[in-house]
Symmetry: C2
Subunit: 241 residues, 2 copies
C-alpha cells in the first residue's frame, strides 16, 4: 500500500473547498479558471511569500495547496521548480538599485547626514521587507551568483559614492585616487549595521527598536564622526595592530 490506491482516492478533493471545516491551510477559495497571465502572477506572488518563509526546499505540493490549486498546475506555468525559483529571484532582485538614490547621495546642496538618512529611509522601504531579506539570505546561503552581483552593484552605485561624499564632507579634494579598502570597509560597517537591523527583525524574529529613522541617524552620525576622528582616507593600512 505504497501509493494512494488508484480508484479509492481521497473523497472528493473539491468538497473540501466548500466545506467550512477541514481547511488547514489558508487555501484561498481562488476563483477557478483564471486567465493564464493572471494565474502566473498569482503563483509567482505566492511563491515569493512561500519560499521566503520556508526556503527554497519548500515543496511544490505545499505551495500549490496555499494557492488553492493542484500541484501539476504549477508545471503548466513553470516548466520546472528551478524555473519558478529563478523567477522568484528575479522578482525580488530586479528591484534594481534605484538611480535616484545615487543622485540623492550626491546632492551637495544638502548636508551629507541628511542625505544619508533619507537614502536609508528609502532604501529600507524598498528592500527591508520580510520577503526581500529572507529570500536574499536564502539565496546567499545557496551560493547563488545573484547575490554577489547585487553586492557589487551596492558597492559601486551606493557605497563608493558615499565614500566620495565623505571625502568631500571632510574637506578633501575629490581626488582621483580610487576609494581605498579602508574607506569602503568603514562604510560597509555602517551599511551592514543598518542591514542587520532588518536581519534581526525578519530572520531572527527578534524584537527591534521602533524608531528606525532615529537608529539610522545615529549610525550615520557615528560613521561620519568616526571618519573625522580617525581619518580613513590615508591608505596607511596600519592603524591599530
Amino acid at each position: 500500500m505504497t501509493r494512494a490506491s488508484p480508484a479509492s482516492g481521497r473523497p472528493a478533493a473539491r468538497l473540501r473547498l466548500g466545506s467550512p471545516a477541514a481547511k488547514r491551510q489558508r487555501a484561498a477559495p481562488s476563483s477557478k479558471r483564471l486567465a493564464a497571465a493572471a494565474r502566473e502572477q498569482q503563483i509567482l506572488a505566492e511563491a515569493v511569500r512561500f519560499f521566503a518563509e520556508v526556503g527554497f526546499n519548500g515543496q511544490t505540493r505545499e505551495l500549490a495547496q496555499r494557492i488553492g490549486i493542484t500541484q501539476p498546475l504549477l508545471y503548466r506555468y513553470f516548466p520546472t521548480k528551478r524555473d519558478l525559483v529563478e523567477r522568484v529571484f528575479k522578482e525580488v532582485f530586479l528591484k534594481r538599485i534605484d538611480p535616484e538614490w545615487s543622485k540623492l547621495i550626491a546632492d551637495r546642496t544638502r548636508p551629507l547626514e541628511d542625505r544619508l538618512v533619507e537614502f536609508y529611509a528609502e532604501y529600507a522601504q524598498a528592500t527591508y521587507t520580510y520577503e526581500w531579506i529572507r529570500i536574499y539570505m536564502f539565496a546567499a546561503l545557496m551560493g547563488e551568483d545573484l547575490n554577489r552581483r547585487y553586492i557589487k552593484i551596492v558597492e559601486e552605485k551606493l557605497l563608493k559614492p558615499i565614500c566620495v561624499e565623505i571625502r568631500h564632507h571632510c574637506g578633501l579634494a575629490p581626488g582621483d585616487a580610487p576609494i581605498s579598502e579602508a574607506e569602503l570597509e568603514h562604510v560597509w560597517v555602517m551599511h551592514g549595521g543598518i542591514f542587520y537591523y532588518a536581519v534581526r527583525k525578519y530572520v531572527y524574529h527578534s524584537r527591534v527598536g521602533t524608531d528606525f529613522t532615529a537608529i539610522v541617524r545615529r549610525a550615520v552620525t557615528g560613521m561620519l564622526a568616526g571618519v573625522a576622528a580617525i581619518g580613513v582616507t590615508a591608505p596607511s593600512g596600519r592603524r591599530g595592530r
Copy 2:
C-alpha cells in the same frame, strides 16, 4: 525498474575505495573500525562542516560518503537525522559566551576603545568562522529557537554591559536607569556592522577587507564618537523625522 535491481546491484562498492579513479568526493579512506566514541566525534565533526556548507537539507547519504562510511552507520550513532542536527546545533552554539569577555568589557583600568577592540578580536576568533556563521544563519532561517536565546544572551552579557561602559565613558553617572532602546540599538548597529563583515565573507563569499582589527577600531571609534555627538542616553524618542 524503479529501485536498484536486487542482486545485480552496483559492482562492488568497496572496490571503489581502492580504485585510484572514480572517487568524486573527498571520501577519507578512514581507517575502518573506530572505537564508538571516536567514530561519533568524527561523524559530528564532519556533519558540522557538511551542514554548514549545504544547509540542513543536506542528505545523509552524501554526509556518509564524505566521512567514508555507509549511510546506515550514521543511524547507529544518531537515532534520527534530527538528532544529529541538534547535536550539531549544540556543538556550535554551546561555544557559550565566554564570561571573560564581560570582564574584559568592564575593565575600567583601560580605555574603552581598547577594550572593545580587543573584545571583538577575541569574539571574532571564536565565532566568525565559516562553520559558525553559516550554521547560525541556517538555523535562524529555520526559525530555530536557539538563535533567539543566543541573541538574548548577547544583549544581556555583551551589549548591555557595553552600554553601561558607554555611559561611564561619557561621564554619566552609572545610574540605575535601565538601558534604553536607543542606547541598545546604537550598539547593535556597531555589533551588527562588525558581524556583517563575517556574513559578507562566509555567506556571500565576497572579498572583504584584510585588516579586521583596523576595521573594528574604526567602527568602535565611530560608535563612541556618535554617542558623544548625539547623546543616546536621553529617552527622547524623537530625534530626526
